[in-house]
């Protein structure tokens, strides 16, 4: 009877609950097969004809016997069943007496055939939802949804905008049954005007989604806001304005317009403090939000590395005036189609300045150049994008987007150089006009249960027109450019570059069975490029001295076609997944420089291999190996001379083929929210088999560079690890990184091997108090060693940082401090600098007004110092930064 106790405690309770104990009789017996063998654990189910009687059931013992408690004088429909036997049904009528009833079951081998069931969904019954009629609870003075919610019984709203209903947290806020803008529930709660709200529905969606951060087991509730018929359109937002010491200003509006079919977001920014209020996160939101990362990880990383993202990150300037506007619109057109688009426009004036000491490491005697560079940039760009999404069914989806970028950058610069050979000042003027047009189509369709097909096609058009002028009163690059004598030297370079690129790839995903997949792909990459340039001297008498005669100037065209076929086989053994891949590429290219033509073809087989071992959901090892090829760009091929800088001339090589390198990566990852532990180890290794190598002729500070195919191996190795653990309310973190690389340098006909090694470690601690000030403290130590010409150069850097945040009453206080000690051990120069920023923000809860006072670069530090290493040169640069700024800001919530 042990099994009964475990699975059917109710067997006994049923008998007890039903009141008329005296009306019960026992039906018992044995269940056997046709050979009289007892059937243990057979099921007996008795369904009463009388609706007032209960359904009963029993399970036979090891010896095949059973006991069923039924009501007297009732008729039951009895079914006896056992796996592999035909179920036996019969009608049983009880009397006043106990009854013995045996059953015999016949074997049924047909029952044991595999059955596949086609399912039709059940009729859906509307569940109860709690609906609040808001008008019954509000006074009419409430501003925002949060104020109206507070008036509803059982509903609480905290300062940040988190809502709880009868103690359960609301994790999803829908408006008119759809996600509201970014889907952040706080955005809806803090911004929807209270007078637009008609009803609030509480949907009790019990969900055991324990793993997702922020969602908790058993307390997921959704809230749906129903808007009043005439108030389905509204605007909301924030405006921030500030002024500061020494002519500083800031205006930053962030406005939203909502209607059930259209969502619009406008962000504007006018300031001269070097702040960019539009962040990478805003950009990601314009591009489709967090959903983009989940659905399309590759393009997320492209976004992250795009030049717009770099623009957003750029920090080092001495002055900056910024005018910025961004507009984002989402419109649902039909049930299955969505269009979204954005326009971002920016006009900024930036000043930068740097002072660099360049140490040239030659065989003769190393010598030093002092170079100062100051630039004024006037950058204008506008980018616009339209995306169309079409999702007709779960099997098919299509996305199309069109992107345009127009750029106009102008800059004026002044370079002064002091070196043993020459002291000179050169003025520069650059004007770049560029236009970039991209079209992208992705389509995916589930062809059958086992096959899914995807297609991706891109067309890219780029047209750049950079113009550069150099002004100096001394001859530069005397042995390389044929300058005619003049009082003032003006050198003009015009470039025009036009490129059409087409990429298309189609891939079939074939599920062979549960543990084996085969992916085949076919694709093409084609590029058609034109590059035109002239270098000439504009003489004071108005005539031109074109450097054509000395071999300068390009009229170059380049066509490149790559057709490829790929095969990937993914399979799983135990906890490990393996994916060997092979790609066969067929390359075809030709170049033309004036009348000189050159063409070539090549076939390459590029293998890749990845494996993943998943010990469990939170502990994994990943391994990847690939053989990679990279073909040259048009500027590496254009084989006439071209001026590169005031001190360098360059010439491409039309016979360049492809670079080839191996790369290997191994990483281990473990995280445990339960133990508050995060561990990450990573090592990667690259080996260059064939690559482009720069050949340099150096005279003083003047260089002539060209490229050749080089096949001596070069290595690159990286090892990094990070561990973080939270104990009580403090998180401790240790991060360490080791990097090594070696490379050849060909300088003045001499080939040498150089290497660089660096080690960096950071240790930090961060507090997570709810009511006390929070502080983060850390210390970082860097060691770098460069080895060239048997000269070893050592650099060391110490960095100490402290961040503080304290939320108290209605104030938020933030401050940060960083101390850097920089030591160039080879020439024994030391430099220390520290930077500090602080801000104090005040806002009464539920008030639309907020006030802030902040100071950046408190100590008025003038520059940052860092070092860099390339083939034959070590640079030690000071980059000048914005001076101390003190600002007072007012923010108003619309």
């Amino acid at each position: 009877m042990k099994h009964l106790k475990l699975l059917l405690p109710l067997f006994f309770i049923f008998i007890v609950i039903f009141p008329v104990c005296a009306q019960k009789i026992i039906v018992s017996g044995k269940v056997t097969d046709t050979l009289q063998n007892p059937l243990a654990y057979a099921n007996i189910l008795a369904i009463p004809e009388n609706d007032n009687e209960a359904v009963k059931f029993a399970i036979t013992e090891e010896n095949g016997s059973y006991k069923l408690g039924l009501s007297k004088n009732q008729t039951y429909n009895v079914t006896v069943s056992f796996l592999g036997f035909t179920p036996h049904t019969q009608v049983l009528t009880t009397t006043e007496e106990d009854l013995i009833q045996n059953f015999t079951l016949k074997e049924n081998p047909n029952q044991l055939n595999e059955v596949t069931i086609n399912y039709t969904p059940p009729i859906v019954i509307k569940k109860d939802t709690i609906t609040y009629d808001v008008s019954k609870f509000v006074t009419g003075e409430e501003r925002k949804l949060r104020d109206a919610l507070k008036k509803l019984p059982g509903v609480e709203v905290d300062r940040a905008g988190n809502v709880t209903v009868q103690g359960k947290k609301v994790t999803k806020v829908l408006v008119e049954n759809k996600t509201f803008f970014t889907g952040d529930s706080k955005l809806a709660v803090n911004n929807i005007p209270a007078d637009a709200v008609d009803k609030v529905e509480i949907l009790d969606n019990y969900n055991e989604v324990a793993m997702l951060k922020g969602l908790q087991d058993s307390e997921d509730m959704a809230m749906n806001i129903k808007l009043k018929e005439d108030k389905k359109k509204f605007t909301f937002g924030d405006v921030e304005a500030g002024a500061g010491i020494k002519d500083r200003y800031l205006i930053h509006p962030n406005l939203f317009y909502y209607s059930p079919k259209t969502n619009v977001n406008f962000i504007g920014d006018l300031n001269n403090q070097g702040i960019k209020s539009f962040s990478f996160r805003d950009y990601l939101e314009f591009e489709g939000g967090f959903g983009k990362l989940l659905n399309d990880a590759g393009s997320y990383f492209d976004l992250f590395n795009s030049d717009f993202a770099n623009y957003l990150n750029n920090q080092d300037y001495t002055a900056n005036t910024n005018q910025f506007a961004a507009l984002n619109i989402r419109q649902s057109v039909t049930n299955v189609t969505d269009i979204s688009g954005y326009v971002i426009s920016s006009n900024s004036k930036t000043d930068t300045e740097s002072a660099t000491v360049n140490e040239y490491l030659n065989t003769s005697e190393p010598y030093v150049e002092d170079r100062n560079t100051a630039n004024k940039f006037n950058n204008f760009f506008t980018i616009g994008k339209i995306t169309l999404k079409y999702n007709p069914s779960a099997e098919e989806d299509l996305a199309y987007n069109s992107f345009i970028k127009v750029t106009n950058n102008e800059s004026q610069g002044l370079i002064s150089t002091i070196n043993p050979i020459q002291n000179n000042t050169i003025a520069t003027h650059t004007d770049i006009k560029a236009i970039n047009l991209k079209q992208n189509l992705t389509y995916s369709r589930k062809l059958s249960k086992d096959h899914t097909l995807t297609l991706e096609a891109t067309y890219n058009f780029q047209n750049d027109k950079p113009l550069t002028e150099w002004f100096t009163n001394q001859k530069i690059l005397q042995d390389l450019i044929p300058l005619e004598d003049d009082d003032l030297y003006t050198i003009l370079q015009t470039k025009r570059s036009r490129a059409h690129t087409v990429n298309a790839i189609t891939k079939d995903y074939w599920v062979l069975n549960n543990f084996n997949h085969l992916y085949t792909s076919v694709g093409i990459n084609a590029a058609f490029n034109n590059f035109y340039n002239t270098d000439e001297q504009l003489l004071s008498d108005g005539t031109n001295n074109n450097f054509k005669s000395a071999g300068f100037g390009n009229d170059f065209s380049y066509q490149f076609v790559n057709t490829f076929v790929g095969l990937e086989y993914k399979f799983q053994i135990g906890i490990a997944t393996f994916k060997p891949m092979l790609y066969a590429h067929f390359y075809n290219w030709n170049t033309k420089q004036f009348d000189e033509r050159f063409s070539n073809t090549k076939a390459l087989l590029l293998p890749q291999f990845t494996t993943k071992i998943e010990f469990n959901n939170s502990e994994k090892i990943n391994f990847k190996y690939s053989l990679n090829a990279r073909f040259p760009g048009i500027d590496q091929l254009a084989n006439n001379f071209i001026l590169n800088n005031f001190n360098s001339v360059y010439k491409g090589n039309t016979r360049l083929e492809n670079q080839l390198y191996h790369s290997v990566n191994l990483s281990y990852f473990k995280f445990s929210l339960f133990k508050n532990l995060n561990l990450n180890l990573n090592t990667s290794f690259n080996k260059k088999v064939t690559h482009f190598k720069s050949v340099t002729q150096l005279q003083g500070i003047e260089q002539f560079n060209t490229l050749i195919m080089f096949d001596q191996p070069e290595h690159n190795w990286n090892l990094s690890g990070q561990i973080s653990k939270k104990i009580n309310k403090i998180r401790y973190k240790l991060r360490s990184n080791f990097r090594y690389n070696d490379f050849y340098q060909i300088l003045n006909d001499d080939t040498r091997l150089n290497s660089s090694k660096s080690v960096s470690s950071t240790i930090s601690a961060e507090t997570f108090f709810k009511s006390y000030p929070n502080i983060e403290v850390g210390y970082k130590k860097d060691y770098t060693t460069y080895r060239s010409y048997n000269i070893i150069s050592n650099f060391e850097n110490d960095n100490l940082f402290v961040n503080l945040q304290y939320d108290f009453n209605n104030f938020v206080f933030k401050a940060d401090y960083a101390f850097d000690s920089y030591h160039n051990k080879s020439n024994n120069t030391k430099n220390t600098f520290d930077t500090a920023n602080a801000s104090l923000f005040y806002q009464l809860e539920d008030s639309p007004w907020g006030f802030e006072i902040n100071a950046t670069n408190l100590f008025d530090t003038r520059f940052k110092q860092q070092n860099a290493f390339n083939s034959f040169l070590i640079s030690d640069s000071k980059t000048f930064i914005l001076p101390r700024i003190v600002m007072f800001k007012v923010a108003y919530k619309l």
Partner: protein
């Protein structure tokens, strides 16, 4: 060197998956998961920008119930990981982190959960079924309707979820999906709140050579303690 690494990885994973076999034949039932959301009109479903909704609509999540006369185990169907994050979200939604194991001879009825980077084992609930006379034919099997309530108690209160199971006495077993044992027949359709699990493939008396083994890895806690751990972590990591 790389070859050695690959070989040792293969060896490691094979050895960790080999298991001794049981003598009784194993029955395998595949359940597909579906979400019914009566709060959205059918025409609004495709418009949903909600990621979780989209992931669930797009992916076919399947669970396996393996059982013989005295043991059963229920978990996510094992298949090749497609690295599709939307599929992982949908798996989580339907309870992919839970493995239910029952052994009637050894009186074990437990659930193993993989959450927050750790494993936990807690006792599975025993359900009080209300057997009704309501019947329906599901794919040729005569099924009866049974009802019960799933109750979760923690310090925020008591939460009840309505559970409806359609079982067929024609397939005689007391084991069911998602730890819902104790009915006089196999559950062909289980509705727990907004989620439906329906049997999509029934294979009885198969040749599968797997041992139905009790999950042993995990901190032994009560269900209440498990929920509290989740709440504590949620509170700590709330922005």
């Amino acid at each position: 060197m790389i070859k050695l690494l690959i070989l040792s990885i293969i060896f490691l994973s094979i050895s960790s998956s080999s298991e001794p076999i049981d003598k009784e034949p194993i029955n395998k039932i595949l359940y597909s998961a579906m979400k019914i959301d009566d709060n959205l009109k059918p025409s609004d479903k495709n418009k949903s920008l909600n990621l979780i909704e989209k992931s669930i609509d797009k992916n076919d999540i399947q669970f396996e119930l393996l059982f013989n006369s005295n043991k059963s185990i229920y978990k996510l169907k094992e298949e090749l990981d497609t690295e599709d994050i939307s599929k992982k979200i949908a798996q989580l939604y339907f309870g992919g982190i839970y493995v239910y194991y029952a052994d009637t001879l050894k009186e074990k009825n437990i659930c193993q959960a993989q959450a927050y980077g750790e494993f936990f084992i807690f006792p599975n609930e025993t359900f009080k079924w209300e057997l009704t006379k309501e019947s329906a034919k599901i794919s040729g099997y005569l099924c009866y309707k049974a009802k019960t309530v799933k109750i979760v108690t923690n310090d925020k209160g008591v939460f009840k979820k309505e559970v409806i199971a359609w079982y067929t006495p024609e397939i005689a077993t007391n084991f069911g999906p998602k730890g819902y044992h104790g009915l006089p027949g196999l559950i062909l359709e289980l509705q727990e709140g907004n989620q439906i699990f329906y049997a999509s493939n029934i294979a009885l008396n198969t040749n599968i050579k797997i041992k139905i083994e009790k999950p042993s890895r995990g901190h032994e806690v009560s269900y209440h303690e498990f929920l509290n751990i989740g709440k504590k972590i949620g509170n700590e990591n709330r922005p």
